[in-house]
């Protein structure tokens, strides 16, 4: 088990930054998810931690030991690849044993560890098959077994569920979570799937454009996005964002709407906004359609989601669409005028220039 520290770690491909200088500490036993759209540098970061990619600058520490220029084989780190990278010319047993042979683990000890792992992952019946004949889920289990059997200081996983079918992905997600709870091993997990990140991570590192956008618990990145990118990226659909103009405790929104800003937000808004331009944000579940709601809108579309319905409302013209979550029996005809309220606890404000979220002083 180990603490991983990145100090000003950066990666350039030519003049292009794949990862801009970043600082990140992953604590002992923590499950950290690097989340971001493709090309945001999350996989490069993971590969730099493993040593498969040399850093351009900065230092990587493992338990205080500088491993920046150590050979991948000397870092005591296990890597789970997106396409599993099971050696096709070896059977499952040899695949799982392979890392132990490198470490010269005595035979008896190796046998014991392998049998423990295969029992835990329930792959005993597959030991003499070649990876090519396994299903996706079983391949994933074998890949996990190969990583776990070494008892490494840390696990790095690069979209390990990305190659699986949707339903299998959910059950494997639960398996990975249980494995992490059982072993409490430091894990860095890369994904572009925010549901996966929310479900698995103790902390989520949201990355975009080669930079860290926000580091926080799943609840933090969901309810308190640090900037517009995180607000849009996390959640499906993302946060509702409407541009408006703030003056004297009121945000003027499209469609002649006036939103009375909750008391606690007035001071920060007054202080931070120079010209009053503001973006107001709220999650679909933070809005409620009521007869006497403060904001007027018109029903644009409505989707059935099973457990609930999602109503798309337009404020003013059709460029300002907000999603509102309602109970599954609530439906509206298209173009029905409705009114809705925003839960004062769920509302967030962003500065459209810096794209950053505004913060309330003290308790949020």
């Amino acid at each position: 088990m180990a603490t991983i520290e990145l100090r000003q770690v950066e990666k350039k491909f030519g003049q292009l930054h794949a990862v801009k200088p970043m600082d990140l500490t992953i604590h002992n036993g923590e499950f950290v998810v690097l989340l971001g759209p493709s090309g945001c540098g999350k996989t490069t970061t993971l590969r730099m931690i493993s040593g498969l990619e040399a850093v351009t600058g900065g230092h990587i520490y493992l338990d205080g030991r500088d491993v920046t220029w150590l050979h991948p084989s000397e870092r005591d780190i296990a890597f789970v690849f997106q396409f599993f990278a099971l050696y096709p010319h070896m059977n499952v047993l040899d695949n799982i044993r392979f890392p132990l042979q490198a470490q010269r683990v005595p035979r008896a000890e190796a046998e014991k560890r392998v049998s423990e792992i295969v029992k835990m992952l329930q792959i005993e019946h597959l030991l003499h098959l070649r990876p090519g004949s396994l299903s996706g889920g079983d391949r994933q289990r074998v890949a996990l077994a190969r990583a776990l059997v070494r008892r490494p200081a840390a696990f790095l996983m690069d979209e390990p569920l990305g190659a699986l079918d949707a339903d299998l992905r959910e059950s494997m997600r639960a398996e990975i979570k249980r494995l992490h709870i059982a072993h409490n091993a430091t894990t860095v997990y890369v994904t572009h799937d925010q549901l996966e990140a929310m479900a698995l991570g103790d902390r989520i590192v949201v990355m975009s454009a080669a930079e860290i956008q926000q580091v926080g618990s799943p609840a933090e990145v969901y309810y308190k996005p640090a900037n517009l990118f995180v607000a849009r990226f996390i959640g499906s659909p993302g946060m509702n964002l409407i541009s408006g103009r703030y003056a004297d405790g009121v945000v003027y929104l499209p469609g002649d709407n006036r939103y009375a800003v909750p008391e606690s937000w007035r001071a920060p808004l007054t202080q931070s906004l120079k010209d009053g331009e503001v973006i107001i944000g709220f999650r679909p579940e933070s809005a409620r359609i009521t007869e006497n709601g403060a904001l007027a809108a018109r029903v644009y579309a409505s989707d059935m989601h099973g457990a609930f319905n999602m109503i798309h409302l337009v404020l003013g013209d059709e460029t300002n669409v907000v999603n509102v979550r309602v109970d599954r029996w609530v439906t509206y005809a298209l173009d029905t005028p409705v009114r809705f309220d925003i839960d004062p606890e769920g509302v967030r404000f962003f500065d459209p220039r810096s794209e950053k979220a505004l913060r309330r002083g003290g308790a949020q």
Binding site: L52, A85, P99, L156
Partner: protein
């Protein structure tokens, strides 16, 4: 309405197959293709069959017109059919003094002899008829001698065939192993690392194949004489290795490119060095490519004629020029040449056959992805 709806398949389809493949027209197509394939196979096999028949012919039979193609053993296999009674002008069978019918060979039949095979392994000298008679009566000669004595030849010592064959095995074998080994290392480097000027290097390697090798025979001959490696095994091994390298680098690079780099990366983080990862993970997966490359290199080095002729005289001479220069006293010994050629085929056939599973995927690689 198309013809197929009218006709339909003769029996219900209980296998996974495309509709157009069970169409009656497709069936006809299959038949035609099968016939064409059989004809091609027959054309390809004919020289080999003819060669193997020639190995057991006498010198006159080998060049007989019309050609003879049915072997028989006197008083043995097929002799009943091949020996027919000679007829008198009035149509009655001709009888000898003792009243037995006189037999005559059918023109397509020839009698099996081991002359060619024995002749290949030994040097021979022609005897006068008196000597021949005298030797035939001597008990000192073994079965091999007797075969040649019948032709009026006597064995004077072993021929250089065994030596030449061994030279071919050593030179072709070693140069193939070296070409594939060096080729693998170079191809791996080209496949996995960003080498400055990689396309230029690869082009340069390929360009060594662009001019016909014969063009450089004289400079190479002069260099070899100067270096003292004329007519040496090492000289020929070096030459064939270098000629094969361009092919092996290019072929193997193609195969290595197909192996995802994640496998080695997995081995690296699993605690192996780069070389160990190469040996334990990359090599087994490149087996197909290695097999295909080995066969191509082997065939080139095994068959190479011109350089062997130019750069060797005796010590390191390989089979191809030796076969061509096999001559008997007064005329070509076709049986000996055929036997030498047949033996010459064996190693390549054996290797190709041993590696056939890999080859099938190897020569079609790129066309079929797993």
């Amino acid at each position: 309405m198309g013809r197929f709806e009218e006709v339909g398949p003769r029996s219900p389809i209980a296998e996974s197959i495309r509709v157009d493949l069970v169409h009656p027209r497709a069936r006809l197509g299959v038949t035609i293709r099968a016939i064409v394939a059989i004809v091609i196979v027959a054309i390809m096999l004919f020289p080999v069959i003819w060669l193997s028949l020639t190995t057991i012919k006498t010198r006159p039979d080998a060049v007989a017109v019309p050609p003879k193609f049915i072997p028989y053993f006197p008083d043995g296999l097929l002799s009943d059919w091949c020996m027919v009674p000679q007829l008198n002008k009035n149509g009655t069978p001709k009888l000898d003094k003792e009243g037995n019918p006189v037999l005559k060979e059918r023109p397509v039949c020839f009698d099996v002899t081991l002359e060619g095979i024995v002749g290949l392994f030994f040097e021979r000298r022609t005897l006068t008829p008196a000597q021949q008679k005298q030797y035939m009566e001597s008990p000192d000669f073994g079965w091999a001698d007797r075969i040649l004595l019948k032709r009026g030849l006597v064995i004077t010592g072993p021929s250089d065939f065994v030596n030449r064959f061994r030279n071919s095995l050593i030179i072709a074998g070693t140069s193939t192993v070296l070409a594939v080994a060096f080729g693998l290392l170079a191809a791996y480097a080209f496949s996995r690392w960003d080498i400055k000027g990689k396309p230029d290097f690869l082009f340069f390697i390929l360009s060594t194949r662009m001019l016909p090798p014969v063009v450089v025979t004289i400079p190479i001959f002069l260099m070899y004489r100067q270096l003292g490696i004329y007519d040496t095994h090492i000289g020929m091994i070096m030459l064939y290795t270098v000629f094969n390298l361009s092919l092996s680098v290019w072929l193997l690079k193609g195969f290595l490119d197909e192996i995802p780099k994640e496998y080695e990366e997995a081995a690296l983080v699993d605690g192996y060095s780069r070389m160990q990862a190469f040996r334990k993970v990359v090599l087994p997966q490149a087996a197909t490519g290695i097999a295909a490359t080995t066969v191509f290199c082997l065939i080139f080095a095994w068959n190479e004629y011109a350089f062997s002729l130019m750069l060797t005289s005796d010590v390191a001479r390989t089979m191809p020029p030796s076969i061509a220069s096999t001559q008997g006293a007064g005329g070509l010994e076709w049986a000996i040449i055929a036997t030498a050629s047949m033996l010459f085929l064996i190693p390549v056939v054996v290797i190709t056959f041993a590696l056939r599973q890999h080859l099938l995927r190897g020569v079609t690689f790129g066309a079929i992805r797993q």
